[in-house]
Symmetry: none
Subunit: 255 residues, 2 copies
DNA sequence: ATTGACCCTGACGTTACGTAAAGGTGTATA
DNA sequence: TATACACCTTTACGTAACGTCAGGGTCAAT
């Protein structure tokens, strides 16, 4: 299959100008040109363009991409695995930015205070991540393999931001539940807040919330001794209390 | 606290030149200048710079940022929530790219075939907006609402034994998945076993199995950050890996 | 034969800075 | 008090990766 400039550009989501520019700088030459000088691209060029876009996505300069693709040791599959790693690192960086935004929201609402340093933490770590993302060679030569690997491991741990959000939600729920248990009133404000937090926590697992399922789970909390043991750790009767709170909560839900 | 150009630039992870440029174009003027003309930045400028960097991160042009920050209706907290949404969307986009890389690896190794269109799917951000709507709401209705509600009913009727079998099945699936992830091959034997276990586990929720729904759920695992968070706990990329394994699994199923 | 959507090659414009060049400032130390 | 040295200033040209015309040729269908 052969593609004209426009066909390939639309398929790849780039502009025709971009393809002509890549031709101009020798990054992506068409397979052939027709008598009138029209550029025609073949399957190899399609794959090469995909490679180029992977690198471009990672912020590698076109000149560098050219060198990489020209290297005699170039191994497409190996490089793709590297791409994958870089993209995962980028995702971790995004997680940090998201955490930063959430922290900033909390600060603006007066719930917490942020130092000036903290305000920029996520942006700076990006620089570190990106620097490392210059395909590692400089950093590895400079600081040696070990420290780079250590840094990577550290970053990997930061990955669990989502998981942390989930567990902190569960923790908050359990604390609220413990407070509510003291009141003894499963219909009370605290207990209902616990039920609501429980619902939010649940939403990390369940694709869609339904009050019936929520109530069903609550009943199971008492029937299943593992759950009972878990929730009754501090105070026996907590599991049953939570069940009652959830049953009231779901009963009061509209729809 | 007042900062000089260098102090602020180091704190924010930008160059001094950048701050002078922002002053030049009127995007970020210093609070005052000392007699010798040195720029001095106060707390308001620090916060404004943070705002600017959030927008810049999202690819907004400086001119546009200027307009946004100048708008009389500007509401910092509201905008931060928008930032958060955008960042989450960006993360979903990254998940797509990661999936694309993994798919490309599989294709290079000859395990699956990719059309030219598929090779570029993840790069096109416009299509993504469409997919967003498609998988965000419609797909959830398609694969979610009806069958999930039925599933919830099933869950409610479940006995404790059923529940135990279900959880241990899920545990086995996750362990198999973790092993398979190390191989990096979603078409491999381990990964396919994980996909099969996933199907069995699913059958505890879903009234009837269909490969289309299974594949739909797999896609949702990557599109929905809650699922991604859940499956990526140990190893980032696991959700995308599971999705690919399931896609391959369902594709190989006789109708 | 004509239309209209495509193609070509220049060539200058744009964004967000990087990078000197040429010189002034602040302060710690000899 | 002199000197070093790390900072600061403005001016100005350089750059990457295209966008955006202008001016003109091509192709497939009507």
């Amino acid at each position: 299959m052969e593609y004209t400039v426009k066909e390939l550009s639309e398929m790849a989501g780039v502009s025709p100008r971009t393809l002509r520019y890549y031709d101009q700088i020798g990054l992506l030459k068409p397979a052939r040109t027709n008598p009138a000088g029209y550029r025609l691209y073949g399957p190899e060029e399609v794959d090469r363009l995909q490679q180029i876009l992977f690198y471009r996505e990672l912020g590698v300069r076109l000149g560098e991409i050219q060198e990489i693709l020209a290297a005699p040791t170039f191994n497409a599959v190996k490089v793709l695995h590297q791409h994958r790693e870089k993209l995962l690192a980028k995702r971790r960086q995004l997680d940090r930015l998201i955490a930063n935004v959430e922290k900033t929201i909390a600060a603006k609402e007066g719930r917490i205070k942020m130092t000036d340093q903290e305000k920029f933490e996520a942006f700076k770590e990006k620089l570190i991540a990106e620097n490392e993302g210059k395909y590692g060679k400089e950093a590895r030569q400079k600081y040696g393999n070990d420290s780079v690997d250590e840094a990577n491991e550290k970053l990997m741990k930061m990955t669990k931001e989502d998981y942390d959000r989930m567990t902190s939600l569960e923790k908050e729920m359990r604390e609220t539940l413990a407070e509510a248990f003291k009141t003894g009133d499963p219909a009370g404000k605290e207990a209902q807040r616990a039920a609501h937090l429980h619902r939010q926590w649940l939403s990390y697992f369940w694709p869609r919330y339904s009050k019936e399922a929520h109530a069903g789970l609550a009943r199971m909390y008492v029937d299943d001794e593992r759950f009972t043991a878990y929730y009754d750790q501090e105070q026996p009767g907590t599991a049953a209390f939570l069940r009652d709170a959830i049953l009231i909560y779901t009963r009061n839900l509209e729809e």
